[in-house]
């Protein structure tokens, strides 16, 4: 944890907060996109319709 301690000790290297922050977001976004697109279409349709009762489902065009 020496790096963390050094960084927290002074203002030098503060740009790492931007860089790491954006990298974390980009990583999260790519991960979420991949995992989302790995969900089978059948499951997605089931999830979408799960809030409807049978009657309501029959009325959906």
């Amino acid at each position: 944890m020496g790096f963390v301690g050094d960084t927290l000790g002074g203002i030098d290297g503060i740009q790492w907060y931007y860089i790491v922050g954006i990298l974390i977001f980009v990583g999260l976004f790519i991960g979420v996109a991949i995992y989302t697109y790995s969900i089978p279409k059948k499951d997605l349709n089931h999830y979408k319709s799960s809030i409807f009762t049978k009657e309501e489902l029959n009325n959906i065009v």
Partner: protein, 718 residues
């Protein structure tokens, strides 16, 4: 497969609906009152309990936590049970949550009007109420998580993800922002000071918008819009992607409320960067909402519930585009401290939150009470009146903002400020304030129509407090499927795991911004001539906070030419190191006061000027809209608490000498006597223990330490 029978708890939903109707009327009425006060200051009545500075936080808290909060709980509890096919986890927790929340609202109204406030916007409530909020909020969260655990539906629908993020997000924000040191039953000081306090407060403030006003309402949108329109949500994939992006990005954006202010550049840049990025996930929600209605727009024409939801989602899209634009420095220079921000928040509050609440209630209340809506015609009338009200409210405020900004930055050919007196700009925008009142009155009228329609519907119907339902039993939701599983199923299989991952996504932004602000000393450069407040100044500061002066006066001069020419030297981080809490403000209805103690500055005024100004502002500043504060001339300061306050400040790191608390009252009286003597020379006889003396002392401290005279005096003492 075993089919289980159970009951939905509709009584709790009904209670929150009724509370929404009651507090909604109160919150909007109070809003109308403060709009009237700004245009007609005589309506402050010269009383401390009815002055704008105290009533405005009642309006904001009532709208956010009473009106919107109760509606959010009603909508959440109804949909949560249906989505998860389970009764709420625990009835007692539900009742505790409901009654404690209403008690908190009552306590908030009473204490804020009585002048008990932390002085931090949207987090004004004092520490005992903060503790009650924590209990009520945890009972809400425990009930929700318990229901998730005992659900009969394998899948956790998108709406519940948003509800869970709401619970986790608000918990983090409330805990971190409310760390304070009590000095009496209803008085505390935050442990953070100055720039650090500002970062924490606006990280909280911005994310209160995110996790109290946005994420729960996106959850409600994902349930009520498909139900009302009879169409499944447009894209479930989009709902997942914009969920994770939005909750992650929001937590970084808070510092955009502090641009050009006494804050390290890196924090401001982080706030701007992530604010601009927020457009994408926000619009993901808007697109998903509007596209859900594809093929169902004919229903929108007929159904008032859908009409309100469409206007809500459209306003959400507008506000979430406008917000990032306002976080660009060039736009922020105009929007901050002007009515632009007020217009922006009201577009979001009236149209997005209000629209979703009205739309949800027009669908939900007839369903819950098993009767048709009392009057569709009234609902349509409400829709058009409310829409017109929003426009008449917001447009004049945008106009007022641009007008005031143009006037404030206008120079004569000789290079002097064209409007050196701040009051000139206020007078110029008063007509816009009159139109705003009309907009607010229309919106309130619409609400009364809504209220009547709801009450008549409720009266005509009948509530089934325990509505019978049945669903197949769900056997061991936590077991991994033998045939493998998708990452989505892995995430949802264990509710606690999902909650922990959400917590991590939420916490990163706050950690990255707040910890370096606390740990890196060079972020907070000190100024050797800046000294702690004397007991008299500290008392005056507390009176300033109690009366909500920060609602109209900032204490922050930005490094912009038209500000430094008007007020003096720009504000520096080191000036605020003893400010528990910071008082930078967010709107200038009156001039900035950061240099009110800097002799020679335009805002420096003598003691007698302040005395007369507090008593009758118009005798000193003709056409001023500042409320009169004659009670400051009459009220006595409680001297007995001063030693405790000094000890509390020492605990927080303010460098008072050891044992100074025992001399604090003597110091107070000696300093107060000097101001009383000065006033006597001007022909006013006032006791040194009156509140007005302390406030004058505090105003004369602002900026004094960095003025040549103040710095010389400090150096002489050293």
């Amino acid at each position: 497969m075993e089919v289980q029978k159970f009951n939905y708890d509709n009584a709790l939903v009904r209670n929150f609906i009724l509370a929404t109707l009651l507090w909604g009327a109160v919150a909007l009425l109070v809003g109308l009152v403060i709009a009237l006060q700004l245009a007609f200051p005589v309506l402050n009545f010269g009383l401390e309990f009815t002055s704008f500075g105290r009533v405005r936080p009642v309006h904001t808290n009532a709208v956010i936590f009473a009106f919107i909060g109760n509606a959010m709980f009603a909508g959440t509890y109804y949909s949560l049970q249906r989505v998860l096919k389970a009764r709420l986890f625990n009835d007692v927790l539900g009742k505790l949550h409901f009654w404690l929340w209403q008690f908190i609202i009552l306590c908030a109204a009473v204490t804020l009007l009585a002048g008990f406030t932390t002085g931090k916007e949207y987090a004004e409530l004092e520490w005992p109420i903060d503790l009650m909020i924590a209990v009520a909020w945890l009972s809400f969260g425990a009930n929700m998580i318990g229901t998730v655990v005992k659900r009969r539906e394998k899948h956790i629908y998108a709406a519940v993800w948003w509800y869970l993020a709401t619970f986790i997000g608000v918990t983090i924000l409330h805990v971190v922002n409310s760390v304070e040191l009590p000095v009496s039953f209803l008085k505390s000081y935050p442990i953070y000071a100055g720039a650090q306090d500002a970062v924490v407060e606006w990280w909280y403030g911005h994310n209160a918008v995110a996790f109290f006003l946005t994420t729960p309402f996106l959850g409600l949108m994902y349930y009520y819009l498909p139900k009302a329109s009879g169409r499944p949500i447009y894209s479930y994939q989009l709902s997942i992607i914009h969920f994770w992006s939005l909750i992650f990005l929001y937590m970084w954006a808070g510092p955009h409320h502090l641009l050009f202010q006494a804050l390290p550049d890196w924090v401001q840049a982080l706030g701007v960067t992530f604010s601009v990025m927020l457009i994408a996930p926000s619009w993901g929600g808007m697109i998903n909402g509007l596209m859900t209605l594809r093929g169902a727009w004919d229903k929108v024409r007929e159904d008032p519930a859908l009409k309100f939801m469409v206007i809500a989602i459209t306003a959400y899209g507008m506000a979430t585009f406008e917000g990032p634009m306002m976080s660009l420095k060039s736009v922020n220079a105009i929007s901050h401290f002007t009515d632009w921000t007020i217009a922006h928040t009201h577009i979001a509050g009236m149209a997005w939150n209000g629209g979703m609440i009205f739309g949800m209630f027009y669908w939900l209340v007839p369903k819950l009470f098993k009767t048709p809506l009392h009057s569709k015609k009234l609902a349509n009338t409400h829709f058009w009146i409310a829409t017109l009200g929003i426009l008449l409210f917001a447009i004049p405020l945008y106009w007022a903002a641009i007008t005031q900004w143009l006037m404030l930055r206008e120079y004569t050919p000789d290079g002097l400020l064209a409007y050196p007196i701040f009051m000139e700009t206020t007078i110029r925008i008063l007509p816009m304030y009159h139109i705003r009142i009309l907009g607010g009155a229309l919106y309130f009228t619409g609400f009364i129509i809504f209220l009547v329609n709801m009450l008549r519907t409720i009266a005509a119907g009948q509530l089934v407090a325990n509505e019978a339902a049945e669903a197949p039993a769900l056997v061991n939701t936590q077991t991994r499927s033998e045939t493998g599983e998708t990452p989505h199923r892995w995430l949802e299989r264990k509710g606690i795991r999902l909650a922990i991952i959400m917590f991590i996504a939420l916490a990163i932004g706050g950690i990255v911004e707040i910890i370096p602000m606390m740990k890196v000393q060079s972020n907070i450069p000190t100024i050797s001539t800046v000294t702690p407040y004397t007991p008299l100044e500290l008392t005056g500061r507390d009176i300033y906070i109690a009366n909500g002066c920060y609602n109209c006066h900032s204490q922050q001069i930005r490094p912009l030419r038209f500000e430094t020419d008007r007020y003096g030297e720009y504000s520096k981080i080191g000036e605020f190191v003893y400010d528990h809490p910071f008082q930078w403000g967010s709107r200038r209805t009156g001039p900035d006061l950061a240099r009110a103690g800097y002799m020679g500055s335009s805002t420096y005024k003598t003691a007698i000027w302040h005395y007369n100004h507090f008593n009758k502002p118009n005798t000193v500043v003709p056409r001023s809209i500042m409320p009169a504060y004659p009670f400051l001339l009459e009220k006595e300061v409680d001297l007995t608490i001063i030693p405790t306050k000094i000890r509390a400040m020492r605990t927080l790191g303010v460098p008072y000498a050891e044992g100074f608390d025992t001399k604090a009252v003597a110091s107070y009286l000696a300093d107060a006597q000097k101001i009383a003597d000065e006033l006597k020379q001007a022909g006013v006889d006032v006791k040194p223990t009156k509140e007005v003396i302390a406030v004058i002392a505090y105003l004369h401290k602002l900026g004094r330490d960095i003025s040549p005279a103040g710095a010389a005096a400090v150096n002489d003492k050293k």
